[in-house]
Symmetry: D2
Subunit: 380 residues, 4 copies
Amino acid sequence: MVGNGFMGAAHSQAWRVAGRFFDLPRQPEMTVVVGRDADRAADAAAKWGWEESSADWREVIARDDIDLVDIVTPGFSHAEIAIAALEAGKHVLCEKPLANTVAEAERMAEAARRAAASGVYAMVGFTYRRVPAAALARDLIAAGRIGTVRQLSVSYLQDWLADENAPFTWRLDKEQAGSGALGDIGAHAIDLAQFITGRSLVSVSGTLETLVSERPVLVEAQGLSGTAGEEKQTVTVDDRALFTGRFDDGVLGAFEASRFSTGRKNALRFEVSGSLGALSFDLEDLNSLQLFDATADPLTQGFTKIIVTEPGHPYLDAWWPAGHALGYEHGFSHQVRDLVTAIAAGEQPTPSFDDGLQVQRALDAVERSSDAGSAWKEIS
Amino acid sequence: MVGNGFMGAAHSQAWRVAGRFFDLPRQPEMTVVVGRDADRAADAAAKWGWEESSADWREVIARDDIDLVDIVTPGFSHAEIAIAALEAGKHVLCEKPLANTVAEAERMAEAARRAAASGVYAMVGFTYRRVPAAALARDLIAAGRIGTVRQLSVSYLQDWLADENAPFTWRLDKEQAGSGALGDIGAHAIDLAQFITGRSLVSVSGTLETLVSERPVLVEAQGLSGTAGEEKQTVTVDDRALFTGRFDDGVLGAFEASRFSTGRKNALRFEVSGSLGALSFDLEDLNSLQLFDATADPLTQGFTKIIVTEPGHPYLDAWWPAGHALGYEHGFSHQVRDLVTAIAAGEQPTPSFDDGLQVQRALDAVERSSDAGSAWKEIS
Amino acid sequence: MVGNGFMGAAHSQAWRVAGRFFDLPRQPEMTVVVGRDADRAADAAAKWGWEESSADWREVIARDDIDLVDIVTPGFSHAEIAIAALEAGKHVLCEKPLANTVAEAERMAEAARRAAASGVYAMVGFTYRRVPAAALARDLIAAGRIGTVRQLSVSYLQDWLADENAPFTWRLDKEQAGSGALGDIGAHAIDLAQFITGRSLVSVSGTLETLVSERPVLVEAQGLSGTAGEEKQTVTVDDRALFTGRFDDGVLGAFEASRFSTGRKNALRFEVSGSLGALSFDLEDLNSLQLFDATADPLTQGFTKIIVTEPGHPYLDAWWPAGHALGYEHGFSHQVRDLVTAIAAGEQPTPSFDDGLQVQRALDAVERSSDAGSAWKEIS
Amino acid sequence: MVGNGFMGAAHSQAWRVAGRFFDLPRQPEMTVVVGRDADRAADAAAKWGWEESSADWREVIARDDIDLVDIVTPGFSHAEIAIAALEAGKHVLCEKPLANTVAEAERMAEAARRAAASGVYAMVGFTYRRVPAAALARDLIAAGRIGTVRQLSVSYLQDWLADENAPFTWRLDKEQAGSGALGDIGAHAIDLAQFITGRSLVSVSGTLETLVSERPVLVEAQGLSGTAGEEKQTVTVDDRALFTGRFDDGVLGAFEASRFSTGRKNALRFEVSGSLGALSFDLEDLNSLQLFDATADPLTQGFTKIIVTEPGHPYLDAWWPAGHALGYEHGFSHQVRDLVTAIAAGEQPTPSFDDGLQVQRALDAVERSSDAGSAWKEIS
């Protein structure tokens, strides 16, 4: 695993846990964790249970005892590491967004296609697909339970920037982060919308907005903590993204991504309306999915709150008895399960780097539309 | 109408409104409102739109142009007025609880049976039966939609006494009010439980509790407002009633009534669990009813929130388009509609005084059980 | 009152009821109801309690015993009637949207300004402003309780067209209705957003979409009921409107109006995020308002569900005890109260025809933007 | 660890995970798992990651390399294993309920007291105390945030027996399970009520009810699955328990435990009402806690839904960023953390076996009360 931030903890937990619940073809071995700072990498290895640590990812991907490289670094470094790993014959799991630019993502997707030809696979980590309620939504739509999809709304709302004195971080710097709310959380909204409907966005019209234009710089920063100094740094990314997207079947989706939604901590929501029903979801209540069935007895129609913890629900047979909730981290275990299972079967895991590239192009189209006064832009 | 407190406003609104939405056999005429204080009665007449006012109910019930007497006074006066009115050949609508004692209620029920023999009818005002969601619950249970009822829980939670400095009122005096939370709101819980299941309680085991034993007396009291003096008066009724009741089909119900449920303003709730499903309701969200259908596809089972504002729902055809909420007062209009329709058809309206008597006996049994260390007491 | 459709019932109820709860300077007298069809107008008079009926609105507005004309006809007739009434020296209450075109609305606003100069007032009926929870939201924002408003989202979702076989109605005909979801319910979303924030939209970018392009024509239509024939008629209005609007303080609002939101019956929703808190509302749960207070103890922050039925809440002192729900129709009584009070005080009631004109211009700008590939259009 | 049913999976996960998130004095080593069937124990070891397996718990507790014995077997075997382990100088974690009888629990508590004198500690596994929302409730009550506790209601509702054809299991046999809903889930309700209030139950009045008296026996049973044969077996435990309990400060609590609450999968709920506020919780939405603050501005009072995933919330600093949900299993990791930390500090972990004994006595008192016609019984 390359990277040792918060995502590293989530991925480590998944590698440790997945094989204890799912019947994997092989129990994962947590060999080595890589970080730029050797000491912090060593700490991460001890903390998260990796056998070794290293400060040199190139050296690690050259090792024979490594089968898979898991990339959890910031987006700007994804392309270099992922392409090198694939060329070294290692399977790759890469955190989202796939890259910071379409050009990088294209090179990565190309590398992935080449590798796949020789049975080496790459996957991008849109884990929210693997929240059981989201996977159930996809299944229900695919089974026609809400009829023809007519419209959808998807939003991802957080509030960690609502305090105008919240400090500057690399996530507010376009060079490092690529974009703001758009790429950080809007990317999840796009991927999830495409996943549950089985459709692809083809064009968008949108507006990006920066709500607080400069923020205090932390002295001795450690993550989000530290002491704010007097110096201010300019925010070069969006704080909120509003866009409308047209899918390949003509359906329009309304999208919103914001890190200024005061009081919303992690509200990835969708509502999909079809000719026979509707589905509604909110990640802040991740163990449930709301279904409206317009074909039911008119006197007792309504949104049904399905608690997605029953036997037969996606991924649930592996876990606890009915009614026992899963949490945020379980999606990562499901990701490991799906990835390892696909690799063992010699099949392309999804979402592929091509899927990640398509999301990257959608993000790029939103930026281009915003720059062009919300004119519609093709995703291609 | 005899009485001019808050209930008088609710009843007046119903008499004024019911005929504008429902096709009544005859438009009600609001002839005279009676109050002990002539000036306040005159004010009430002007405010609520009654043609006349009076300070003498005996005179009013002797009038030829009065067909129906609506009694909205405190419980201790119900028996005298209702019996006199029935004997004078007037139909009677009497607010709940029917009386303050079983003995009074028995005399009233007897008078009502005598009157009914000559086509004069009496009804007791358990209006929550006429909240559309409650009526729908009754219909669904009767239609077998939740199978055999196995258990239920019913509670009525308010918090207007949670402040220990809330002043003394007649509702805290056993002589005037009969009992406390038990008769005031527990009576509604009992009636509603019996109504929706179509079953009667036959025995109970319970505990009554007074949580604040004395309260300041208001100087120049006006309703609940006024200035609290230094004098204190002893609370002689219960603040909270907890009891278990057995229905005539053997089912057990758990009951709670409290005016100390901090933050709950008017939470009359029930949950009925059957062999094939369940129903759940909360008066604080009175336009909805939750239904669980255990016969549905296991993958999409859950509680369905039925918004009970659709065409075909009980009483709803008379009101607004789908999705347009009703309020507290509409139950009173439904009561007028049902009462006037039954009288015109020469049928006994429900709940009858016998029904009210049965609730009174249940309240009495709870008190006897509490006095006897929660021993089970028959309702008879 | 001119018009006798569903809105007529709601307005009649308000005229009948408002003076029974609020201290109006004068009890309204329900003199005459006007309808094109004399028989149906007579039926409406009897049903709703108007003294007389008429088939000629011109005759009625000429009468000396008429002080106020309440217009509840479809939008295309608003201008003619309202202007004539104002010129005849009658106060006017006109249902929303003010008109079907900006040109009509301009003429109406001009007539209203002229009339106001001589103490005759006009008001447009955006009643949702008078839902107590919405009025409370406005008060809390004005008092700074959520700090500086940073973003908002407003949607109005219904589903009565989700069935593709739902019949054609005048509301689907651009000539009669002006627009579809946009003017019918999007107008409410715009007015409410402006009302609660105290800000005006200045420009918009949007997309209108017709999801079902033709519908069966009813044979012997009566309201929405009747028998669908084989003939089809083309839908000439939008089914769904998505737009982004910029307010005069620079804030962006995301708007959606749809009559295809399967399962949503009457979901007018807003969420306003500020620097110190947030507010969230849904008309399907109209007695509550959600408030997030970012200045509270971090350990106990969260959205507080305020049940807006307490003494001190807007309009509530007139109604029932704490916790007793209001319904859809109460907003109309509040409208009567505010209108009659303002007229008696010689003050301009709000929203004025100028306010209605501004909403009309916003609707027009959305249509122009949609026609121009979502390019931003000024509202002016 | 002795036992290899579903609880074994939960405990294994906790032993594996706790040290990866919390700073434990020492990383737990998962040495050996014990099961009666050697093959199934070996499978469990492989599946859950234990180094070894064994079919003989006596042999295992004699080993020098074992410091702690974790008992996850059915209740009837707890006493024998726990006492032997403590006498062998091993710390003990024992699943709830502590035992099947008061006599067994007394012997266990005595053994635990003896062991504690020499620094060997025992703890009983009421893990729901360690759901962060429950721990926060305890903290808020202790800090006086809801004032003096006046009343509470606690229920634990499941529905896995609602189907009358659900097969017989050991949990329905009094010999093996001790009691039914009462001991299985009512025990959690009692412990949680005592934990959050810091008070102990002193007497109870209750009723136990068996709703389905016999059930089909599984042929070739495997857990809850298998083929139901024609043979029926008599259910010898309660399906539903209703009781009222008095705490040592005089407060009354209403309790319900049922496995017939159709549609409720795992609904452990409490509502505690105090003089200054109230708290409400439902395990089916385990990441949130509802707080009502009666001292707040009357205009904006209401239940606040605290999403208990913020920094500073109990146990949360160890996990994910704000708003990222925990699941059922996390309580077990918190239990390991608290247990290991207490042992390392030479302190008695809680809940102790004495605490478990007190719950056992409360369960016993409910049974005695039910047998005595709901007469109040002391817990002693």
